[in-house]
C-alpha cells in the first residue's frame, strides 16, 4: 500500500472512530467492516494506536502528578540527618539537663517560643468533590489564610463524626496554637505526639515541644523537640541548654 493510500485509509478510520462520517460514508464504511476480511481488525488496531499514544503521554503526566505529591510530602517529612546528629543531640540533651540544674535561667521561654514558632503551613488543598473532604479542604484554605477560627468551626464538626482522625486532631491543635489558645492546643497536639503511627507525629512533637518551651518545662521540651527531628530542633535544644 502506498503512503498516500495508507494515509487516506487512516483518515477514514479516524473519521469513523470520531463519529465524523456522513450517513452515506458511514454506510460504505460499515459495509467494509462487515465484508472485507481483516478490516475490522485494522480499525481496532488504529483505535489501539490512538489509545497507546494517549496512554504514553498520560504515563508521563502521572509522573508529573506524583512529583507534586512527593514535593508536598517532602515538605511535611522532616529529614533525620544522621546517626551523628542523634548522638550529638543525646550528648547535648544530657549535658543540658545537668547544666540546667546548675545555672540560672538566662532566657525567657516565651521569647524563645516567639523566635521559633511559625504556624504549620497546612496541607496541599485539592478541593475534592467528596462532601466531607471538600469541607475539610475548604477549611484548610481558611487555615492557610490565617482564618483559624473559621477552620476550627468546620473541623470540630468533622471531629464529632470522626473523633479518631489524626489529621483533624492535629490541625485543630495547630489552629488553637496559632490563635494563642495554648492549653487547648496542648490537649490535641499531645494526642498526636503520642501516636507514632500518625504522619503528624513529628510535627505534633515539634509544636508540643514549643509549647513546653513557652511554659518553661524544658526537660519535656527537649524530649519533644528531639523526637520531632525538625531542622531547627538541634539549634533550639542548644539554646535551651546554654
Amino acid at each position: 500500500m502506498s503512503e498516500e493510500t495508507a494515509v487516506n485509509e487512516l483518515i477514514s478510520i479516524e473519521r469513523y472512530l470520531n463519529n465524523e462520517m456522513s450517513e452515506e460514508e458511514l454506510t460504505g464504511f460499515e459495509y467494509k467492516l462487515q465484508n472485507v476480511a481483516g478490516f475490522r481488525e485494522k480499525v481496532r488496531k488504529v483505535q489501539l494506536i490512538l489509545l497507546g499514544i494517549s496512554e504514553s503521554v498520560f504515563g508521563e503526566q502521572m509522573n508529573v502528578f506524583h512529583a507534586e505529591l512527593e514535593n508536598h510530602h517532602s515538605q511535611k517529612e522532616k529529614v533525620f540527618v544522621s546517626e551523628k546528629w542523634a548522638i550529638l543531640v543525646t550528648v547535648i540533651l544530657l549535658l543540658g539537663i545537668g547544666i540546667w540544674f546548675l545555672l540560672p535561667k538566662s532566657f525567657s521561654g516565651n521569647s524563645l517560643y516567639t523566635d521559633y514558632f511559625k504556624p504549620d503551613p497546612g496541607l496541599l488543598t485539592l478541593m475534592s468533590p467528596e462532601q466531607d473532604r471538600y469541607g475539610f479542604e475548604r477549611a484548610m484554605v481558611d487555615f492557610k489564610n490565617g482564618e483559624y477560627n473559621k477552620a476550627l468551626l468546620v473541623w470540630h464538626e468533622q471531629l464529632e463524626q470522626n473523633p479518631a482522625n489524626d489529621t483533624l486532631i492535629y490541625f485543630v491543635g495547630a489552629a488553637y496554637q496559632a490563635i494563642g489558645k495554648y492549653d487547648r492546643a496542648q490537649i490535641y497536639l499531645q494526642e498526636i505526639a503520642g501516636n507514632e503511627k500518625s504522619v503528624f507525629y513529628r510535627d505534633a512533637n515539634w509544636f508540643l515541644g514549643l509549647l513546653k518551651v513557652r511554659s518553661a518545662q524544658n526537660d519535656e521540651a527537649i524530649r519533644r523537640l528531639y523526637i520531632s527531628e525538625y531542622e531547627k530542633a538541634e539549634e533550639l535544644i542548644g539554646r535551651l541548654t546554654r
Binding site: K45, L51, G52, G59, M127
Partner: protein, 186 residues
C-alpha cells in the same frame, strides 16, 4: 461489535474541554494516592511499590474511562474502584513473591466490576505502541501528543510549529502512519 469513539471530546461525556479534564484527573490522582500508599506500606510494600501499583491502577481506570466503560463520574466510587484494583494487583505480587500476612480484602472492597474492555493481546499491542511512540522522535511525538492527548486544534498546532494548517494536518497523518508502520512491521 461496534467501536466506541476514541480521541474525540465526546468520549468522556462529562468534560467540556480537555484542560478541565486534566485538572480533574490531577485532583483525582492526588486525592486517592495516600489511601493506597497506606495499604501497600501496611502490607510489606515500599513507597516505590505504592507508586507503581497506584499508577497501574490509575491507568486501568483512565483506560476504561477512555473506552467509555464508565457512564458516570462519581469520585466516591472511583476511590473505591482504584483501591480495589490496587489491592488486587498488590495481592497478586505478594502471592507471587510469597510475602505472607497481607491484609485481606474486605467484602465492601469487592463491590466493583474490575473487568476490562481490552484482552491481553490488545494490552500487549498497546504496550508496543507506547514503546514505539516513545522512540518516534520530534516533531511527531509532540504533534501527536498535542492532538491526541491535549486535544489541541490543528490551528493551534500549526501555530505552535509555525506551519500552515494544511501542513499541520498532513504531518499529523504522516506521523501517525509512521507509528502505525513501526508497530505493524514487527
Amino acid at each position: 461489535m461496534g467501536f466506541k469513539t476514541l480521541g474525540s471530546k465526546k468520549v468522556n461525556g462529562g468534560y467540556i474541554n480537555e484542560h478541565k479534564a486534566d485538572a480533574a484527573l490531577k485532583e483525582l490522582y492526588l486525592s486517592n494516592y495516600l489511601n493506597i500508599e497506606k495499604y501497600i506500606l501496611a502490607n510489606h510494600g515500599t513507597k516505590e511499590d505504592a507508586k507503581d501499583i497506584y499508577q497501574e491502577a490509575f491507568l486501568v481506570y483512565w483506560r476504561n474511562m477512555k473506552l467509555g466503560k464508565f457512564s458516570t463520574f462519581h469520585s466516591n466510587s472511583i476511590s473505591g474502584y482504584l483501591l480495589q484494583i490496587a489491592k488486587n494487583k498488590w495481592i497478586d505480587i505478594l502471592r507471587r513473591e510469597k510475602r505472607m500476612n497481607f491484609v485481606p480484602l474486605d467484602e465492601e472492597s469487592q463491590l466493583y466490576d474490575l473487568s476490562e474492555d481490552l484482552n491481553e493481546e490488545e494490552k500487549d499491542y498497546i504496550d508496543i505502541v507506547k514503546k514505539h511512540y516513545d522512540e518516534l522522535g520530534e516533531p511527531c511525538k509532540t504533534l501527536l501528543k498535542l492532538f491526541y492527548f491535549h486535544k489541541e486544534s490543528m490551528k493551534e498546532i500549526a501555530k505552535f510549529f509555525s506551519w500552515t494548517d494544511a501542513t499541520a494536518k498532513n504531518n499529523k497523518y504522516r506521523c501517525l502512519q509512521r507509528l502505525r508502520d513501526k508497530v505493524t512491521d514487527l
